[in-house]
Symmetry: C2
Subunit: 236 residues, 2 copies
């Protein structure tokens, strides 16, 4: 909560007033039927003030993505070799969820608006693409010199974004009522299990000294052996 | 080759003439500097003929995606329970590569054009999104009733598209000179190894009756156990 009030304090009040006016009009009249002139009239400011903060009408719908993209890039750049790369991009993706969850009502209103306006949907796809590229560039750096580093980076970045967005949409569809963090943790956990290496043993694992003996035919498909192994370990 | 000449024969010549005229002008003058009027003048047809085939100037840049999306949807719908789902979406993605590879010069020209024009980049993102949704919807159907079916479907569809596009871009960057099929097979193989189940035992596997005995502590991370298992099986 303190971080969200700090962020709010750092935002110029005029910018917030423009966003609030825009959304009131979008919801009352529809997005297409609202002009920048209508927005500035309701906010009580001039057109130039609008364009000082927002390059276009579309940008006022997504006022925090630029900040979030910068935060994500800075977060990734601040990581060192000690951070497991897949885990790091999952943590970076959580910054986007946090931005949405800071203001559930606004996020849910925008979600409903975006579904109805094709131009906003296109804008959103371009933003999602930029997040995905930020994650992929980081992974390409971490995987540099490894075989298939760029391919793995692109695939894992896309998987992280898809998992994040699956969780985000399910939270938005719930009207912002469900537990956003738990949903996204679960979704990202799936990606980490496919691509990452668990960095810790599950806490509370009491039987760590038990021994598993697995007997398998050499010709058995690897997936079947792993399935047996998972069920022996009780993680199937 | 016969399928590509059959496809060419099925296309109305006027549509092809419009595409050819548009690309000649885009390359000579630039995309933004070319109007629909310029295109129809060069092709020697009226404006209405243009809009009969293409809703907008952007659509003439990507004349085959609608057909390819229909082909992909039909291909997925034609699959039965006997098709391993991840393999099936990989095969569906190959249809897109085939469309690009049918006409390497055109594809490479378009790639260079799209990189320079932000509006075309946005259009392309929306097309990619539609392919991804087609794959995800198919997987959601196949995974229906399984835990996390929708999440897995979204993540795998995104991974397949990212792998396909990584291979496609590397082929386009080569000027259409590299082996497109081999590149995409390799990229999709990575996704299948992460999410799919190998459906066949490697041919020539002679020692199928040998037995592996793997002893592991129960508390060991699963990835480490799988690593040991892979190296025991000689597939690490």
């Amino acid at each position: 909560m303190s971080s969200s009030s700090a962020a709010a304090a750092a935002k110029p009040p005029m910018r917030d007033a423009l966003v609030a006016a825009a959304f009131r009009l979008f919801l009352e009249r529809g997005y297409e039927q609202t002009t920048v002139d209508d927005i500035v009239a309701l906010a009580g400011v001039g057109r130039r003030s609008f364009f000082r903060y927002f390059p276009s009408k579309e940008d006022v719908v997504f006022p925090d993505h630029e900040r979030c993209l910068s935060d994500m890039t800075a977060f990734l750049a601040a990581g060192g070799e000690e951070h497991e790369p897949v885990r790091r991009v999952c943590d970076a993706a959580r910054l986007v969820l946090r931005m949405y969850a800071e203001n559930p009502d606004f996020s849910v209103q925008r979600y409903r608006l975006t579904k109805k306006v094709p131009g906003l949907r296109a804008y959103e796809l371009s933003v999602v693409w930029r997040y995905e590229r930020a994650l992929a560039e980081y992974l390409r750096g971490r995987f540099a010199g490894r075989p298939e580093g760029a391919l793995r980076a692109d695939v894992i970045a896309a998987a992280v974004v898809a998992a994040h967005n699956n969780a985000l949409r399910s939270w938005l569809r719930s009207g912002g009522e469900s537990d956003a963090s738990a949903t996204v943790d679960h979704a990202l956990g799936y990606v980490q299990s496919a691509f990452g290496r668990p960095s810790v043993v599950v806490p509370g694992e009491q039987r760590s000294e038990d021994v598993i003996v697995l007997v398998s035919r050499r010709g058995a498909p690897l997936w079947r052996v792993v399935q047996e192994l998972e069920s022996a370990l009780g993680r199937g």
